[in-house]
């Protein structure tokens, strides 16, 4: 059961048999959905660590000033 590429040109590929809007909007939504839910947690982690680092530096500076 071999399959071949269903399109003979890039414009045919983009056209999707006349269903370009439907197919490509679905894949765009899907791509956005995947990207956001992978990238956002990664950025969030960096922010959390940054904030925790600032907080611990602040607390250390605070105790220093008590000498």
């Amino acid at each position: 059961m071999t399959q071949s590429i269903q399109f003979s040109s890039i414009s045919e590929f983009l056209d999707m048999g006349g269903y370009a809007f439907n197919v490509w909007s679905v894949y765009a939504i899907f791509a956005l959905f995947i990207a956001v839910n992978l990238v956002f947690p990664i950025f969030r982690k960096k922010k959390i660590l940054r904030d925790l680092k600032k907080r611990s530096a602040f607390e250390r500076a605070d105790t220093d000033s008590m000498d």
Partner: protein, 247 residues
């Protein structure tokens, strides 16, 4: 036995183990995603009725199927939280709600875009599956809202656990709606590989790859958000402070 159970509930254990597993899971997810998308977009033959819109179904089926896992997951985590008071379970459940809302939304959107072509309508209020999936979307948003509405973290956890258990009833409705009622949304096509099936074996194989890819994505995303939750809730602990210092 309790020691093993307690260890399983340790956030640090989860953090360390997920550290080791994440690269493999992300790798596997990426491979399946790339293969699935390229297969669907480039290689799937046009259906004799649906032309190239079957490519939409590959995505829609994978996301829709996985979206049904959220309430069961949150309900199990909720029961563990309520009965054994295992904090880790709640840490997983907390972020699952928002991710589930995304899944439900994408299910509805992709299904609607496909329906606009194949059924001639973007929506159908008399279809039980559509309405119950919409309800799931709102219910998941409600869980998110409920969590932030309750100040006390423990009370919030309990409330969300209860709502998640109730939400599972809707999942049963979503799944069986196409069999119980005469609806627009077609019943699950028999998963036969014969080529006289409405969707040929190539479609089901591509969809199978996509289902695995989306499931892996679900696991990866959930692990990433749970790890963040752990870092925040356990920030006072020595091991988190070590990580912060090293960051």
């Amino acid at each position: 036995m309790w020691l093993w159970f307690a260890k399983l509930g340790s956030p640090k254990w989860f953090y360390d183990v997920s550290d080791r597993w994440l690269p493999w899971l992300i790798g596997a997810m990426s491979v399946f995603m790339v293969i699935g998308v390229i297969w669907a977009l480039l290689f799937l033959p046009p259906d004799y009725q649906q032309s190239f819109t079957t490519r939409i179904l590959v995505i829609h089926v994978a996301v829709a199927g996985t979206s049904l896992a959220f309430f069961p997951l949150m309900a199990v985590a909720g029961i563990i939280t309520l009965v054994w008071k295992m904090k880790l379970a709640d840490m997983v459940a907390k972020n699952a709600a928002a991710l589930g809302a995304w899944f439900s939304f994408v299910t509805l959107a992709t299904g609607s875009i496909w329906g606009s072509v194949m059924w001639g309508t973007w929506w159908e209020w008399t279809d039980a599956r559509l309405v119950s999936m919409l309800f799931q979307f709102f219910l998941l948003l409600s869980v998110v809202a409920l969590r932030s509405a309750i100040e006390d973290a423990d009370k919030a956890a309990k409330a969300c656990a209860l709502l998640s258990i109730v939400g599972c009833i809707n999942v049963v409705i979503i799944k069986y709606s196409v069999e119980w009622w005469n609806v627009l949304h077609q019943p699950a096509s028999p998963l036969s590989m014969s080529s006289d099936n409405a969707n040929g074996p190539e479609f089901w194989m591509a969809t199978g790859v996509m289902i695995i890819a989306v499931y892996l994505f679900f696991i990866v995303s959930l692990i990433l958000t749970t790890r963040n939750e752990i870092l925040q809730r356990e920030k006072r602990s020595q091991w988190v402070q070590d990580i912060v210092r090293a960051a």
